[in-house]
């Protein structure tokens, strides 16, 4: 089976995010970059699928040179090869442009099933998997927590409010992974060592015959408003203090 897993490199969830003064993006200094956690579920599912049915896992990622580290992580987990789409025109790409780039790379390689994270934890757009499926003309099942493949049929469980759906589709298809799908593996050391030698094709938009087309752009990035300091209500009379709490909740916080 030919399996593709798309990954995105994002800042570590614990990283200190500083918005550039001009609002054009974040200050990347001192940031630890990791694979977006939902993409890890996708890679793990891709590897499990390969282990069950045989075949190869190809990693595809869009991003600057540093993205190679994340690609190597996926290769260390057990993927066979990778395509790294590195083009300055795509560095701040929106979901559509990113999905177009992924589609341009994937359409040329055999693909029976494509895994994406259900969203990346940096921009939270949650669209890339869906747009990719549309561009490739494939069915998609998004935000899934369980996957069974039988022959040319994929059966996926998707949790929704108060219920879960069992969705069937035919291969090839695009699957986007939700937490709960699996526990991503820890790369073995031989895996890490071998990953250094696995083939990674680096391509730019030209190589893919892609004219980068953005449907949207981030106009300005600004930090969230600073959290106002907490208040300690002073006084000796508990009743008066309680009354003050109620007053503040009503008048200032406007929650009651």
């Amino acid at each position: 089976m030919n399996i593709v897993a798309c990954v995105k490199q994002v800042p570590d969830t614990e990283a200190l995010i500083k918005v550039k003064p001009d609002g054009s993006g974040i200050d990347e200094g001192g940031i630890k970059w990791v694979m977006s956690p939902y993409d890890e579920f996708g890679v793990e599912e891709a590897l499990k699928t390969k282990e069950k049915f045989g075949g190869e896992v190809t990693i595809v990622s869009v991003g600057p040179a540093r993205t190679m580290e994340t690609i190597r992580t996926a290769l260390a987990m057990g993927a066979e090869k990778a395509i790294h789409i590195d083009d300055p025109a795509l560095y701040n790409a929106d979901a559509y442009a990113t999905a177009s780039a992924l589609a341009a790379a994937i359409k040329d390689i055999p693909h029976d099933i494509i895994f994406c994270g259900m969203r990346a934890i940096d921009d939270d757009s949650g669209q890339v998997g869906s747009v990719l499926a549309e561009l490739l003309g494939l069915p998609q099942v998004t935000v899934i927590t369980k996957l069974d493949i039988e022959g040319q049929t994929a059966k996926a469980i998707k949790p929704i409010e108060g219920a879960q759906l069992l969705i069937e589709t035919s291969l090839p298809c695009v699957i986007t992974a939700q937490k709960g799908l699996n526990e991503p593996r820890y790369a073995s050391l031989p895996g890490i060592m071998k990953a250094k030698k696995k083939p990674v094709e680096v391509k730019n938009a030209g190589d893919l015959g892609l004219a980068v087309d953005q449907k949207s752009a981030v106009a300005k990035m600004s930090p969230p408003p600073a959290r106002p300091p907490g208040k300690i209500i002073q006084g000796d009379d508990p009743a008066a203090k309680a009354a003050e709490v109620i007053r503040l909740l009503r008048e200032e916080a406007k929650v009651i």
């Binding site: 614990e14 990283a15 200190l16 630890k32 990791v34 593996r185 820890y186 895996g191 060592m193």
Partner: protein, 715 residues
């Protein structure tokens, strides 16, 4: 023919004829030769098995130190004596036999060459000495039989099932029989010598003499016949046991001594680093041949004495691990594998196709159960107390390395810990940029701000990120400032020491952590380091030198004890309640730091310091070492709860610690036992800062909100 016969024995010229009544016959040489041949053959076969498997390792350098170890622990039995009851038991047999063999050699020399002094006073004292040591052996054997078959201590088994073998009984009965037949021979001889030949000095051989008094009904001729028979029985038992040595537990005479000679001369707790990640094909110990030959040999030196098991925190809290069982299971496996491998190698040497058959059982997972493997806290109790210097922990870590590095098959919670260390250089995974936040209220400079300091205060992850640990770091920083110690920290440039990665088998991650830290430390030309965590202390002190990190490393309790002794800090506030000090394994057993923490505590006015039932090098682990800090503990009792019980039994109101892991574990143990109203766990730095009385800060624990609110709380 014999020289002894030239003497005419009388008062003033006391003596006896060697080979009296049972004359020396050349056939004795033949029997002896057969026994020795069987002994030599057995040893040769064993030698082949020792050589069959394992990677090379040099344990013959520095002969002086090795001979010293052999004399201290082999000849003088120092480690064996550390546990008095079995120590004395073994000493009675060991020293008894040692002297008796020496005596037999004197007898033989007297017979074959002649000893001019073998009569008179010398003879009498010689006889008495032999008598006493013969009795000692008999007493030792009696104690051993009683202990093994009647008292049945748990350590001579596993979870209540004794692991006695037929061999144990044969050896003890055999040794006892040698002595008993020896005394009977002597008694029969004395019966004739005293009553017929008129020897008046028979009572010097008091055991045989007393026994001879019961033979009064036996005629002298009958006594001579019985004596001769008994002499040959005695001789055959002796020769039999000599031949039996390589095939029995008696082999420990050779293997245990050899192990004491081949002792590790490295610092305690030393782990050989994996040298070449890039080119190695496998990592860690997945099968027997991945051990060094010495690691395998260890298991043949084990006498199943069970001292390791007796203090093992995992075993004592109902987990499947017993260090003795690990070593014995490896030995059994080695005895299955080694002959097969030896035969295959021999065939290969003779030109046949070298086919070493695959093992039938997986070593890691089947021979050694994974629950055993991961239960170890690396507390070092087993290694500290093993009388024959077996090294358990490097084997455990080697097998963990295999599971982690080769198979990536280990506890998910530990995987998370490692990812956190990879991404944020701390096990909790808190943002690395927050590492210096603890110091906000103390105002500690980083080396980047001011590198002109005497000490680097390596805070470590607990002091930097754990809310409880931060309080310790703050207390310590305040003390150091008050004492005028010039120190700085690395701040956000500091990284995790990597101890948990190393001991949890992730050597690769550990080396990355270590190298990163060393680069930063060397960049600031750091010479001296203070740590507040014994794990970092041990790693930086002993393991960082491999990677070019050579520093003078001090634990904060060492520094505190010094500052107090020098009068650089004054303790004026007195404390109330009863304190007990919990020895951290990585401070105590690993680094022999036992006194400084206690000295620091004793300097506090009003200090009432008591010891728990397990203390100093017999201290009971808190349960957090060996990466266990980050793992679920779901089998048996919790180790920290059992330790808390010991503190409760000692009537302690405060458990003083010198380790942030221990601090967490002891605080949890106190809570689990519902004692948080009356007990608390504090780091020594917190106790000292409190005693310095410079502020009402460092609230002893969360449950005392009576403290006046300070400006800091406003943030």
């Amino acid at each position: 023919m014999a020289h002894g016969t030239e003497h005419v024995y009388s008062v003033g010229n006391e003596g006896r004829e060697v080979f009296w009544n049972a004359p020396f016959e050349l056939i004795l040489f033949a029997f002896t030769a057969v026994a020795m041949a069987i002994f030599a053959y057995g040893l040769y076969k064993r030698w082949q098995l020792w050589k069959a498997l394992g990677r090379p390792e040099d344990r013959t350098d520095n002969a002086g130190e090795r001979i010293k170890s052999l004399i201290v622990n082999g000849l003088f039995q120092v480690k064996t004596f550390k546990d008095a009851y079995p120590g004395i038991m073994h000493a009675l047999i060991f020293f008894g036999f040692f002297v008796l063999i020496f005596g037999a050699a004197i007898d033989a020399t007297q017979f074959h060459i002649g000893l001019p002094f073998f009569h008179g006073k010398f003879y009498l004292w010689f006889s008495l000495t032999m008598e006493i040591f013969g009795l000692a052996v008999l007493l030792g054997v009696a104690i051993a039989l009683y202990r093994r078959y009647i008292e049945k201590p748990d350590r001579l088994g596993y979870r209540g099932t004794p692991d006695n073998t037929a061999d144990d009984a044969i050896v003890l009965v055999g040794i006892g029989a040698i002595i008993i037949t020896g005394f009977i021979i002597e008694a029969l001889r004395l019966h004739v010598n005293v009553n017929e030949d008129g020897f008046t000095w028979g009572a010097w051989s008091f055991v045989g003499y007393a026994l001879s008094k019961t033979f009064t009904g036996i005629g002298f001729d009958t006594a001579r016949i019985l004596h001769k028979w008994m002499w040959w029985i005695h001789t055959f038992i002796v020769l039999g046991l000599i031949a039996y040595i390589p095939w029995s537990r008696l082999l420990h005479i050779i293997t245990s001594s050899a192990n004491q000679y081949m002792i590790s001369l490295k610092p305690k707790g030393y782990l050989e680093p994996i040298a070449d990640f890039e080119n190695a094909e496998s990592f860690g110990v997945g099968q027997l041949e991945d051990f060094t030959w010495k690691q395998i040999f260890d298991s043949d030196a084990c006498t199943r004495c069970g001292r390791c098991q007796d203090g093992c925190p995992a075993y004592l809290t109902g987990k499947p691990l017993s260090p003795k069982k690990v070593i014995q299971d490896l030995k059994t496996y080695w005895l299955e594998r080694a002959p097969v491998v030896h035969a295959a190698k021999k065939a290969a040497a003779e030109g046949e196709e070298p086919v070493i058959p695959e093992p039938e059982k997986m070593m890691v997972g089947e021979v050694i159960d994974l629950h055993e493997l991961w239960a170890c806290t690396n507390c070092m109790y087993c290694m500290e107390h093993c009388p024959v210097c077996i090294e358990h922990i490097p084997k455990i870590i080697g097998m963990r390395q295999y599971k982690v590095l080769m198979e990536a098959d280990f506890a998910p919670e530990l995987q998370l810990t490692y990812r956190n260390m990879e991404n944020n250089s701390n096990p909790w995974g808190i943002g690395a940029h927050l590492r210096q936040d603890w110091a906000a209220e103390v105002g500690v400079k980083t080396l980047a701000e001011d590198a002109d300091v005497e000490y680097l205060f390596y805070v470590g992850c607990s002091g930097s990120f754990d809310d409880r640990g931060k309080k310790v770091a703050i207390a310590l920083a305040k003390i150091l400032k008050e004492a005028g110690v010039r120190f700085g920290v690395l701040g956000p440039e500091e990284g995790c020491c990597g101890d948990s990665a190393m001991r949890g088998g992730n050597e690769y991650l550990y080396q990355i952590m270590a190298q990163t830290n060393i680069e930063v430390m060397n960049g600031y030309n750091v010479k001296k380091i203070i740590t507040m965590c014994p794990h970092g202390y041990n790693a930086i002190k002993k393991d960082y030198p491999h990677f070019g990190g050579n520093f003078e490393v001090y634990h904060h309790t060492e520094i505190l004890a010094d500052l107090i002794a020098q009068g650089r800090i004054k303790l004026k506030n007195s404390v109330e309640g009863t304190f007990t000090y919990h020895d951290s394994c990585f401070l105590g057993r690993y680094n022999d730091v036992y006194d400084q923490p206690r000295n620091a505590l004793k300097a506090v006015p009003g200090m009432n310091l008591v010891e728990m039932s397990s203390c100093f090098n017999k201290s009971f682990c808190c349960g957090a070492g060996g990466a266990r800090m980050w793992m679920e503990e779901d089998i048996g009792e919790r180790i920290n709860d059992v330790r808390a019980d010991q503190a409760i039994a000692a009537n302690a109101s405060t458990i003083a610690v010198g380790c942030p892991f221990c601090l967490t574990m002891m605080a949890d143990g106190i809570k689990d036992r519902g004692k948080e109203e009356t007990m608390e766990a504090l780091d020594i730095a917190e106790i000292i800062w409190e005693a310095m009385g410079l502020e009402e800060a460092v609230p002893p624990a969360e449950e005392t909100p009576s403290e006046a609110p300070k400006e800091e709380t406003a943030e």
